[in-house]
Amino acid sequence: MAAPDSDRRRSLFGWVVKLTCTMTADDDSSVFEPGATDDEDGASDTRAEEGCPAPTKIENRAGLLHALTEAAELEHGLLLQYLFAALSMKKSSSEGITVAQAELVREWEGVILSVAREEMAHLGTVCNLLTAIGGAAHFGRPNFPVPSRYFRMESDGGSPRYVEFTLAPFSAESIARFVRFEAPEPPAAERALVEPELRYSTIGDLYRQIEAAFVELEDATLFIGPQHAQDRDDWSLGLRLWNVIDTQSAITAIRSIVAEGEATPTAGPASHFQRFQRIQRDLSDEVTRDPDFTPARPVVENPLTRSHFESPGGALIDDADACKISELFNAVYGTMILMLMQYYAFAGESEEQRFGLRAAIRQLMSAVIRPLGEVLTEIPAGSRFPGQTAGPSFELYTDLRLPAHQANAWTIFHERLAEEAEACARLSTEEGAPPRLRFLQQNLRLVARSVERHIRSVLLGRRIHTGTPTSELVHGA
């Protein structure tokens, strides 16, 4: 594949802009206006950057690992933005919408949540791709908002442009951004030492560069990862994760992600792009019928409990309850990420332990994180945001890392979950606490207990492996 030059990039991006604008012609121009500083195509201009000219083509394992890491961050970031919008949506006619509108909103929420679940599967497949070529699963990401990191493109002036990642409640603007994320593109056409500076106009564009690199790099030396260390489970959610053992299976995995999610110009109605487009049309129709229709709660954009140096901006909430519940939410989210890292590390757990870990992660998602996120959208954000509510900020307060020893990891999972359950219990007894907290603290305790049940067998497994005397096993665990 020839290295794309900036002219071709410009013309490619121009095509995407034209196509997407055409597709949303019935709507307003909000498709490309996610932020006040953005231009017409939703990409943020930044100052011209200077420095060494960086390679832009994926030419070796390091480059491919870098691109897949970017893809993992993209999928992770997308699914959180979809989740945030879904959790912001009104639930019933008691929130100032008609019964008929509540039905519409429910359908949209269901679609967005189902897309978010599919993004989880994409993230899993990307982790499999990383593992297949000797990398590690990647769950890190910067905090929101992220104005200039993803969808790096060249603009006419030569300055790089990006599409902002931002947590925003459901609205015409946010759904337009989702359509932009999933927009298709037309089918496409001296070896660097360092990782390339990735440039792509769509997610499909990034994956096609990754696919091309898989084709170009030599099969025999590329796939050095252990084949058993890939996730094959459907997570009891009907998710489809692809295993990668060679170039052909890598291509199949990549194309399935593109086809299912980011779509191709000929994609079917089940693609994320087309599903979001239908919501966009239906929303536009409803707003035409009822200009006062507001499908989401008044959730602040990019709520934060504190400033993060890498993510300037955001809305620092200051309501005491919102702060405490947000911190609890972020702690649980962090624990879940750690557990996902352990799950994808294939650190030696037995099938039963992996089943327990997977179940605990899934239960944290469904039975704690989602309802806790919804609870936040009903709590005032604070004095700086009159009339607005908080929301799930998905903040990572530190660079999460797993301990090297498996048993320590499980001990830490249990410790964190137990502390989070205790914190939730305390919050649930405070005056005026949201009623759902009581139920959620029970669920957290149950997850903690299920993890605790596995700790002993994890300890036993490790000590037997290292030759610890049986007598010490009996008294030590």
Binding site: K91, E103, P371, L446
Partner: protein, 272 residues
């Protein structure tokens, strides 16, 4: 073996619960296959054998009743409990919680306080989950096992028994008739809110599900005694200390009506 009173019961119950992957406390139902529509109250997971607060049009009438009484295998047709009502008190729920407590088809019902009433007499008995009568999230999973259902039974024999109990020969035909009735109801209403609810029901309509889950345990095995209200003395010999064995199945799920059918029997030892 001491003599016992065997009380057979059956009927439709209602349970307005959210289903996976919705969280168990999801109020309206979004991603699962159950939901609240229109101005119905939020989903609450409560199993109701009697007097549900909401009735979905074209759904079955909710009521679980005593239909047989036998003493040592001999039917008693004039017992005061015949035709009486069976109830589960204390807002019982299927406690699966997205697999946190039990997997699909194994969800225990908690609390479990059975009440049988008829013609001026009543019996009531609570089954504690453990000797300390702990809340379900505190109970040792090993101890809880006795209260779990045995998993989903969908084999042909089970399906036949379920369909026979609910009086449906062909689930597909039952679905077709329900769809027709919902469409007729929708055509007759100009109320946009009501139409929205009916449209949701039609979009999500599925046939009766002829599967079941079965429970079998002894009420009071881990503690507690029963209560008998018996001014006429017709139940004076009921043993309220010895455990009462109960077995029942719940199935024939009518997802559109949020109802299911229950059939079973409870055996109450009699003091000799």
């Amino acid at each position: 073996m001491p003599e016992s009173l065997e009380v057979g019961f059956g009927g439709w119950f209602q349970c307005r619960l959210a289903t996976d992957p919705d969280p168990a406390d999801e109020p309206r139902g979004v991603s699962g296959w159950t939901f609240a529509v229109g101005d119905e109250p939020d989903l609450d997971r409560i199993i109701r054998f009697q007097d549900p607060p909401v009735h979905r049009s074209h759904g079955p009438d909710v009521s679980v009743a005593i239909d047989t009484i036998a003493v040592e295998g001999r039917n008693v047709t004039d017992h005061p409990l015949i035709g009486g009502r069976v109830d589960l008190l204390g807002e019982p729920r299927f406690e699966g919680r997205n697999g946190l407590i039990a997997e699909d088809g194994e969800e225990p019902i908690a609390p479990f306080m059975l009440e049988l009433t008829g013609d001026g007499v009543s019996l009531r008995r609570h089954d504690p989950l453990d000797p300390q009568d702990s809340a379900i999230e505190e109970v040792d999973p090993g101890v809880l096992r006795r209260r779990l259902a045995g998993g989903v039974e969908g084999d042909p024999a089970s399906a036949r028994e379920v369909l026979q109990a609910i009086g449906v020969e062909d689930p597909q035909e039952h679905r077709r008739v329900r769809e027709q009735r919902l469409r007729t109801e929708m055509a007759a209403t100009g109320d946009p809110d009501k139409r929205a609810g009916l449209e949701k029901r039609l979009r999500s309509l599925r046939g009766l599900i002829p599967v079941r889950v079965s429970y079998r345990f002894a009420i009071g095995e881990l503690g507690g005694v029963g209560e008998v209200l018996d001014p006429r003395g017709s139940l004076a010999d009921a043993d309220v200390v010895a455990p009462w064995s109960i077995q029942f199945w719940m199935g024939g799920w009518d997802a559109d009506a949020l109802c299911g059918f229950v059939r079973g029997a409870v055996r109450i030892p009699l003091q000799s």
